[in-house]
């Protein structure tokens, strides 16, 4: 009995040690960021940097690149997630329903970007973007096409897990036999049942797009990371404060989104 209790105590202390170390791993950089952004020039602490960051007038006038970067990243997040979902969900559903033989090929294509470094992608995408710029203009939003390629492996995995959890074929056939056309099948039957997978794919895409620097920088486009990098050359403290603030905002957005996926389940009656 006491042996069992000792073992349990040891396991508990091991767990807390692991949790503590991981917590430290995340907390230390965050603490360092806060510490750095609150340093006063002559020693001591000040919130001047933070006050400046939240003074939209100052940011607009003195640091326009930050505003541009934030707006570009927000647009890129929306566009990337939209293109990814519109492209992947129907394709993957169709492959499962009608072309199961192509599943491995589609999987291979979707996972391929995982093996290609961003710098190599840029080399490959450069001539494509020359045409994109020619036809669509120089807007940073068109980076979304490249970002869709970047998020493809993660989004594919998340959606594949969701589609595997339901009997897509039977549900689609049942809906069609009741009179539903393909758009209805997708919108009212498949999507609600892979909602969690869609949200997971979206989370991963949002996180990846918000953190992307290489492609935007090499194509000389604006996004949040490029803006923070530029800001760092002028005002390192403000750049770190901005990075910290957007990390918190991104965390809160993802946290809020996670509740969207679980709202309905909790309202279900108990199983009997």
């Amino acid at each position: 009995m006491s042996l069992h209790a000792t073992r349990r105590r040891r396991q508990a202390s091991f767990r807390w040690t692991v949790v503590g170390l991981i917590g430290l791993f995340f907390a230390l950089p965050i603490f360092s960021m806060v510490e750095f952004t609150t340093r006063a020039p002559g020693g001591g602490r000040t919130l001047d940097t933070w006050a400046k960051l939240f003074d939209l007038g100052v940011i607009d006038a003195d640091y326009p690149e930050l505003k541009t970067g934030v707006l570009a990243s927000a647009g890129l997040v929306l566009l990337t997630v939209a293109i990814m979902l519109i492209m992947l969900v129907p394709t993957m559903t169709w492959v499962r329903l009608r072309l199961p033989g192509l599943r491995r090929t589609v999987e291979f294509i979707c996972l391929l970007p995982l093996t290609i470094p961003a710098i190599v992608l840029v080399v490959g995408l450069a001539p494509v973007y020359a045409w994109v710029s020619y036809f669509l203009g120089e807007s940073s939003l068109w980076l979304a096409f490249a970002y869709v390629v970047l998020v493809l492996p993660y989004a594919y995995r998340a959606l594949d897990a969701g589609l595997s959890a339901i009997d897509v074929k039977t549900l689609a056939e049942a809906a069609r036999s009741l009179g539903a056309g393909w758009p209805t099948v997708m919108w009212r039957i498949i999507l609600p049942n892979v909602r969690t997978a869609v949200l997971s794919a979206s989370f991963l895409s949002v996180a990846l797009v918000l953190g992307e620097f290489t492609i935007a920088s090499l194509f000389s486009r604006d996004n949040l990371q490029v803006a923070i990098n530029q800001l760092g050359k002028r005002d390192a403290s403000l750049a770190i404060a901005a990075a910290f603030a957007f990390m918190v905002i991104a965390f809160l957005v993802l946290f809020a989104m996670s509740f969207v996926g679980t709202g309905r389940r909790s309202s279900r009656p108990e199983e009997n």
């Binding site: 056939e173 049942a174 069609r176 036999s177 009741l178 009179g179 039957i189 049942n193 279900r268 009656p269």
Partner: protein, 375 residues
């Protein structure tokens, strides 16, 4: 016809609306590579009739149903419902209710929402939709479960809701694709009887696909036995059992003995007794007669010419295995009370009853009792 134009009349299924239509499948062919799933299948179903398609795995019965539903395209042939050619009409516009082998309730919807789904697509007003759903749930006796989700229902309940959902739209044809095969034996029998009750009440033309012969014989007006993509025989359950048209049907439906006999003048001399033969039997000479276990009477007889191998208690009946002097193995049905009176090695007399049987040309293989169909 768009999905929204699909008809839902003012009559309610369950009120005896008698909405059956005729269904005709003509010369259907469907191949998957070198495999011919349907090989010229032709089938006529009368309005309001309940037809079961029975056959071993891969015989094409499910393919036939899926072609009728529009879920598969036939390579050639024609599908007619109510006299209209619907061969190239998409599934969503065919106006057929279908219950699948796999559980097919939409997991994110309650029972009621599932039943209302097809009605919603037809833009039925909310009040009427709710009333129809309630009546359908009453019909399958699941009104108390209207607000439950699929994961809160048992397998049998899920299939009953699927049936209610299929019937709610007042389909021209009801298609049942092995809806009972995932259920345990007791629920299976209950639901089987329930399906028949509801079908008789509603009067919808129904095609039921199963590999379980008992299921098919119990519920259908006519049973079609399929083999290699075509119908071997389409007949009433009694005729199919008592008057099999082909050796395959005789073997597949129920237990059959294959015993050597001499045939002459449409009668066979079998185990020393003359019995009448069915049309289609061989006309003369040595033959194998396909005879049911219940068509052979067994009496204990010290001077008998057959020896008991075993006797088994099967619940409502008993089964006796014996071997004749000539080495032929015979299975006979006996009363369950009589099982204990027969011991291995006992001598018995086997007498065929005068029921018509099918005689086929004699084959070199030994005459043994054929097993029943799977399931």
């Amino acid at each position: 016809m768009s999905p929204t134009q699909l008809p839902v009349s003012d009559t309610v299924p369950g009120s005896g609306s008698g909405q059956g239509v005729a269904v005709t499948l003509s010369d259907l062919h469907r191949s998957y590579g070198s495999i011919h799933a349907l090989d010229g299948l032709t089938l006529d179903i009368a309005p309001g009739e309940f037809v079961a398609l029975l056959g071993p795995s891969g015989c094409g019965k499910t393919t036939a149903l899926r072609v009728l539903a529009g879920l598969e395209d036939a390579d050639s042939g024609r599908v007619e419902v109510g006299g209209k050619d619907i061969t190239s009409v998409p599934t969503s516009a065919r106006d057929m209710g279908m219950v699948f082998q796999a559980y097919s309730l939409f997991p994110h919807m309650t029972t009621r929402q599932n039943v209302e789904f097809g009605l919603q697509l037809r833009r039925i007003p909310s009040a009427r939709r709710r009333a129809r759903a309630s009546e359908m749930l009453d019909l399958v006796e699941l009104s108390d479960h209207a607000d439950r989700y699929a994961h809160q229902l048992s397998g049998g309940q899920q299939q009953r809701v699927a049936l209610a959902r299929a019937l709610a739209i007042e389909p021209q044809v009801l298609l049942l694709d092995e809806p009972l095969s995932a259920l345990d034996a007791k629920v299976r029998v209950q639901l089987r009887d329930e399906i028949r009750r509801i079908q008789l009440e509603v009067g919808t033309t129904t095609l039921f696909v199963t590999h379980d012969q008992e299921e098919a014989l119990a519920v259908a007006d006519r049973v079609g036995v399929m083999q290699a993509g075509n119908l071997e025989q389409l007949a009433s359950p009694h005729d199919l059992y008592a008057r099999p048209a082909t050796p395959f049907v005789a073997d597949f439906v129920g237990l059959t003995n294959r015993l050597r006999a001499t045939v002459q003048d449409e009668r066979a001399n079998l185990l020393g007794t003359s019995i009448p033969l069915l049309p289609g039997s061989v006309q003369r000479g040595d033959a194998l007669v396909l005879i049911r276990p219940e068509s052979i009477a067994v009496t204990a007889d010290p001077a008998g010419r057959a020896t008991v191998i075993s006797a088994s208690f099967l619940g409502s009946t008993g089964s006796l295995h014996a071997v004749t002097e000539s080495g032929e193995k015979v299975v006979a049905q006996i009363d369950n009370d009589a099982v204990a009176t027969f011991n291995p090695g006992d001598l018995v007399t086997l007498v065929p009853r005068p029921n018509p049987a099918l005689a086929i040309s004699a084959m070199p293989a030994g005459a043994v009792a054929s097993p029943a169909a799977p399931g």
